[in-house]
Assembly symmetry: C2
Homo-oligomer: 349 residues x 2
């Protein structure tokens, strides 16, 4: 069941839970804010739903709640950080902010982060760079969870790629995993007894299927765009590991520290006002977005929207009606926050 709980209540409760899990005050506060914002934006799967799992990761020693990123190299507009298996969200925010700062100095900036942990909702960091007036690009390499195209076994991460454009009327943000559907999404459809809208993977007989349970069983999730998604996934994996001097996806497989344990991440910010007038560029964006949005819709009740636009509508709704939270997840977070449940009692995820 879904509850609607005021943003500030959710945030404060998440903050308490994260403190009990062992995060220092500043980190708990920032993570509580981000987890709550993700759920408020409609990305529950990578928002509040992740807090119990995060607690298990801390308990298992896969995330060090005290560690801060350390600069391990700097040259020109690029910096390299060791995330020291610290908290994925705070490490990634730190590096997104460094990329922005480098772009303010050099026009473009890159922060390359190795040895970090799961950043939760990937779009958070591109969105943050856009709010700092930058075009933001970011990506991550993850452990193997998707077959390479032509294979029937998981052999590459679904490595999300994110890009955000700083439009003043609302950023345009893509947060795109390289699988068509996340595993979390398959579970949502299965629990609701529904089929996927489009085939999302292969069943035991090797046939494309819309049956979410059959795909969970084979772990043969479909790359977005078939061979295209798997090609981009392996390239992003290699690029992240190479630039950050960090682990590739299979080195994460070997490390077995949970999802994205020890992963590599890239953050690139580009100042879009170097060569053009701000007002003219904003007018260009608005004109382009309006043209896309006015493309003739297949279903008159479902107008075309650019990525990020619906997120803002969901955010507004969450601020008015409360943040939608799964009841079971909410009870776990409450139990953690109040000390009714200790992290050692949480089942593994």
């Amino acid at each position: 069941m879904k509850l609607r709980i005021p943003f500030e209540t959710v945030r404060a409760t998440a903050d308490e839970a994260l403190l009990r899990i062992g995060l220092p005050e500043e980190k708990a506060s920032l993570c509580a804010q981000i987890h709550t914002e993700s759920s408020a934006d409609g990305v529950e799967s990578h928002g509040l739903n992740r807090i119990p799992r995060f607690a298990v990761y801390v308990r298992n020693g896969w995330v060090d709640p005290e560690a801060d990123p350390v600069l391990t190299g700097a040259r020109g507009a690029v910096e390299n950080y060791d995330g020291r298996l610290g908290v994925g969200i705070t490490n990634a925010i730190f590096c997104a902010d460094r990329a922005v700062e480098l772009a303010r100095q050099h026009g473009i900036g890159c922060a390359a982060l190795h040895n970090t942990t799961h950043w939760m909702r990937g779009g958070t960091y591109a969105w943050r760079m856009a709010e700092a007036d930058m075009v933001g690009l970011s990506w991550i390499n993850a452990e193997s969870c998707m077959p390479m195209w032509g294979s029937d076994e998981k052999s590459v991460g679904n490595n999300p790629f994110c890009i955000a454009i700083p439009r003043e009327k609302g950023p345009i943000v893509v947060d795109m995993a390289m699988s068509l559907y996340a595993y979390g999404k398959l579970g949502v459809y299965r629990l609701a007894g529904e089929q996927l809208p489009y085939p999302g993977g292969f069943d035991r007989e090797g046939r494309l299927t819309t049956d979410p349970g059959a795909i969970e069983e084979t772990m043969r999730i479909l790359p977005a765009g078939y061979w295209k998604g798997s090609s981009l996934a392996i390239a992003l994996d290699l690029a992240a590991a190479m630039i950050s001097n960090g682990r590739s996806g299979i080195e994460q497989d070997a490390a077995t520290m949970g999802s994205c344990g020890g992963c590599s991440q890239i953050f690139i910010a580009i100042d879009p006002y170097l060569f053009g007038d701000r007002e003219e560029l904003q007018a260009m964006l608005d004109h382009r977005v309006a043209a896309a949005d006015s493309a003739h819709p297949i279903d008159p009740d479902r107008p075309v929207r650019c990525p990020g636009e619906n997120t803002l509508l969901r955010r507004k709704e969450s601020m008015e009606r409360g943040v939608a939270v799964d009841e079971q997840i909410w009870n776990q977070i409450l139990d953690l926050a109040t000390g009714r449940m200790d992290v050692v009692d949480i089942a593994s995820f």
Copy 2:
């Protein structure tokens, strides 16, 4: 019918044809090399096949064969160029090389090009950056040729995104249009009387179909990964126009100067050896690629390959057996090269 013609014969003939079309010597020579390499790599659709169409573009005044790119702004690690509707290939090569040079100075470099023309095979420039020891990223915005997700009319470009990783045993290169199949590919299947391997667009009744002719009729090509491909396409369009201070896709629609006439392009190079040891990083790449390639294949006769690996095999075959060229296209190029046909006599494409 396909002919196999020695690389050097093809290159020299293309060079003659391009000189007759009106390109200055240096530009003709470079373009002949690139068109021939693209066909030799198996990308005929954006290699030699484009020369007759390029001739028409020059004749129509959509491409100025004499124009060189002009620096219109520079700040730190970013430069902005006006392509002056010059030759797409030479403009893009110039900017890819500038990005590499900027990355040598600043660790990362970006050349943003506006008012340019079709770059033919997108992968050329990422591949070139990788051969210069850089991780290369590039993308372009094109005129509307694909529906935004949820629409039934063309409303966004298929805006290729390219990324290349400098592996010494052969770069890993993704050259990915945001539609699942290019229009050129649909034509190839239709002429061969074949169905597409996977649904590639919508027919007149709005059903997903594998019938290439039905999709050509509606122009409702399918974005790669459905909503994902269309989301990334609009974001890449906005980012290219904003950073380069250039035209968006719909401003190209309005300009009506052929495919990609007046478009915007971004080239980003990142030095991957800033923080890690070259030999160790190359060993990491080889290890990762070997793991992907050894993923259990669905069909034992079709082993998994990372993007770019098969390109090198095709290149080798072309050097040994000659470059595969469509007979009709080859005759057109010969006619242009020998002066038997003047550019004014070529039908439009």
